[in-house]
């Protein structure tokens, strides 16, 4: 580890804005509890578990929870603002046209995929909410201040600990697991609603040994969806933040060499914004496919 030692001097000179949420400097790591062993002299530290910035009625309140609450407030406020401006008699404004075409497009696509107006009417609000919420939650990381504003917390021993006030909600596994659970419960609900208790026959079928094992595999793959849905979103967003951090440190190193600022992080951030849309769309679409799978009866 001799080479990173010389680089770590460069890292220390970085401005405070350079630390992205999800990946922070050395202050945090000692108390984060995620690093069982020492990581040598490398200055790039990644915080896996979000910081707790306070308590709320006795429960720990993490920075991702604060950011996701802000996203919710923004979405609800936007909904009220757009809803108040809607006219059915006068000339519609730009916002109304944008949201009407968005909602209309998604509704049309859903009707085409599900092929059933009644199920579309039930599933539409949840699917579009998942999409818009995850999209805004992914894009909020690129607002300056998210991940760079820090608060200092006093510990018992007179020590100080630097915490980050905001962090992208989907860079927290708890958040994505909660979203996956919402999607999972909704899919099962739709299955029971359309097929009644016959829906259980997909998983517990004792008519023949082959059907029994097919049902067992179906059950396992149903539960594995929770893992794949939550880790897909988390992995993409968390890895995206680490890549942005690497680009920023690379920029600092290159600046040390040639004294010319080179905008490495800009294309990477653009790419990550594209990933944000894609992952939001994938999450909503997979929920839609699972609803379709659960609502169409199996023909064995």
């Amino acid at each position: 580890m001799s080479e990173p030692l010389s680089q770590s001097e460069n890292f220390e000179r970085l401005p405070q804005e350079a630390t992205v949420s999800g990946a922070v400097d050395q202050h945090n790591v000692a108390d984060a509890g995620t690093h069982g062993a020492e990581h040598g002299e490398s200055a790039l530290h990644v915080v896996f578990i979000p910081d707790n910035i306070g308590t709320f009625f006795g429960y720990a309140f993490s920075n991702t929870l604060l950011t996701s609450a802000l996203v919710s407030v923004f979405m609800i406020g936007l909904a009220f603002y757009v809803g108040r401006q809607i006219t059915t008699t006068g000339t519609p404004g730009k916002l109304q046209i944008f949201f009407e075409s968005l909602v209309g497009y998604i509704h049309g696509e859903m009707t085409k995929i599900l092929g059933n107006d009644r199920i579309t009417t039930i599933a539409f609000p949840l699917i579009i909410t998942l999409f818009l919420y995850i999209l805004v939650a992914n894009w909020i990381e690129f607002i300056p201040g998210v991940g760079s504003i820090e608060v200092v917390k006093e510990l018992e021993g007179g020590k100080e600990k630097i915490l980050h006030l905001f962090r992208g909600p989907n860079a927290d596994l708890n958040m994505t697991l909660a979203l996956a659970l919402v999607s999972f419960v909704f899919v099962e609900f739709m299955g029971f609603r359309t097929q009644g208790f016959g829906y259980l026959k997909n998983f517990f079928n004792f008519s023949s040994p082959i059907n029994f094992f097919v049902g067992l595999i179906e059950l396992i793959s149903e539960l594995a969806r929770l893992i794949s849905l939550s880790f897909r979103l988390f992995g993409n967003i968390f890895a995206g933040e680490i890549i942005v951090l690497l680009a920023i440190t690379l920029q600092a190193i290159v600046f040390e060499w040639i004294k010319i600022p080179f905008p490495f992080p800009v294309p990477i951030m653009l790419f990550e914004m594209g990933v944000g849309v894609l992952q939001a769309a994938v999450f909503a679409m997979l929920t839609l496919f699972f609803v379709k799978q659960a609502t169409t009866a199996h023909q064995h």
Binding site: S228, R232, M285
Partner: protein
């Protein structure tokens, strides 16, 4: 040899890198094949492009799930073990 090189930490990090590196090969091949065939099908039958695209994304998700399991193992090796 430097005893630092043979520390358990070394093999943990090596295992994490190998887990995600090797684990990404399979899904990459699978997604590539699925996309190639789907685009071929769209070229032959443009009317069915919408239907093919949605099924293609579903196939991506199923192939990608294995890559995600490799990612989980790698994360577990770095942060938990």
């Amino acid at each position: 040899m430097d005893p630092q090189v043979l520390a358990p930490e070394t093999f943990k990090l090596l295992g994490a890198g190998l887990a995600i590196g090797l684990g990404a090969i399979g899904p990459a091949i699978g997604i590539g094949l699925a996309a190639a065939k789907a685009f071929e099908a769209m070229g032959r039958n443009p009317e069915a492009a919408d239907n093919i695209r949605t099924n293609m994304i579903l196939a991506f998700a199923l192939a990608e799930a294995l890559g995600i399991f490799a990612f989980v193992v790698s994360i577990l090796l770095i942060f938990v073990v």
